[in-house]
Symmetry: C2
Subunit: 243 residues, 2 copies
């Protein structure tokens, strides 16, 4: 995938993050998916410094912006979305599942800027942080274990923003073996069985058909059919030589 | 979301993992999304032991199965899928984008078992590991920075398996304010402006309409309309008292 220009209208905002590994992981996922605008609010200073070694995301971390409050960090954004794990908290906001929320964010960043807020590892976003948000979004985890690792949560939200609903299943590009090729394989396998005194060979009139059907079920492509036929021919040659 | 019975037909297989944090992160994401069957192949022993403290996933890690080879780890699975980041490697397999590959996996685990393989942090899956796979899957990352953190990659693959394409955008449940409520607000705001000697009030015949339109654009719900009207009435009371 390629990073789209509108991705620069999304600001990933990490609030009160304590663990440098999580800042680094968030930055790495951003880089993986083509988002560049990282903002940190009141990070534990040591965490922010140590995070700068994140694999492949050093530039992104170096250009991260530091703010003293959520108010300042979201000031230039026309949409503010807070991420929450669904807990006992009595939410005052509309809560969107990630699949739906990401659609709203994608629509918004086509022309406007959006701040996507992630709270601290231990407490998430505070009610005060949430009061800056237009609506909230949650990743659909199990209720029994709703709370995600911060780096993983950032990665999943960004993935949902870049995923392509229309991505199609790829079929094997190689052309499937022709009936003639499969029939040659069937015949050669039967010859090998005959030369090996395979017991059922003459006991059932339908055996030949059963082998033919089995070979068709293998769904071989041309290259493999040729490869396999060569093996069988060698086996037949060896078996007949031994007689 | 709730874990579905077929989720137990998926085995997450971590091959040659070195970092205990990654084993723990994989286990945590599995638990978040309701997958329970973790298999580790040839893990660095210390890593496997240290990982057992992963947040909320201790049971899952305690029941993880350890294998000496990929052959053994996938023996009971009828579909084996390898995850790769798209690199320079010349792949011999069909490569599916995650969105499409996850559909194939979901279809398969409705009745059969599937092993989903993740390689080591440094080298990914080896060509030998890949030879066990029916096809390969990749997360659509940027080519310039394709390689993801292992724990994040596991989390994203599992999320794609549980995501609900039909999840709808939730509209605000609260009923929108009625025209009568909005008209009361409009009138009270105009009264406040009049009492404040707001200059434009008498200069433009269309000013009243402009205020009315603005109030409608606020898309208030009933509760907020009442809340806001109370504030305006208090302001008007104070302004008129001061005269």
């Amino acid at each position: 995938m390629a990073a789209l220009p509108e991705f620069d209208r999304l600001r990933v905002v990490l609030v009160d993050t304590r663990n440098p590994l999580n800042i680094g992981a968030a930055a790495r996922a951003m880089s993986n998916f083509g988002f560049r605008r990282l903002r940190v609010v009141n990070p534990y200073e040591v965490a922010f410094q140590s995070a700068r070694s994140a694999v492949g995301a050093a530039d992104l971390l170096a250009s991260a912006e530091k703010f003293g409050s959520v108010t300042e960090a979201v000031a230039d954004c026309s949409l503010v979305v807070g991420t929450v794990s669904v807990g006992p908290r009595d939410l005052q906001h509309t809560l969107q599942r990630l699949e739906a929320g990401a659609r709203l964010i994608r629509d918004h960043i086509a022309s406007g800027s959006c701040a996507l807020l992630f709270g601290s590892e231990k407490f998430g976003l505070s009610n005060r942080d949430l009061s800056h948000c237009h609506w909230l979004m949650h990743i659909p985890t199990r209720e029994a274990h709703a709370s995600m690792n911060l780096g993983q949560a950032v990665a999943i939200c960004l993935y949902e923003l870049i995923r392509d609903a229309a991505a199609a299943v790829k079929r094997q590009a190689k052309s499937p073996a022709s009936s003639a090729e499969m029939e040659r394989i069937t015949d050669t396998l039967l010859a090998a069985l005959r030369a090996s005194d395979y017991p059922k060979l003459n006991s059932s009139v339908s055996f030949h058909s059963a082998v033919r059907r089995m070979i068709r079920r293998f769904h071989m492509h041309t290259g493999d059919a040729e490869f396999f036929l060569g093996m069988l021919r060698q086996i037949v040659w060896k078996l007949e030589k031994k007689k």
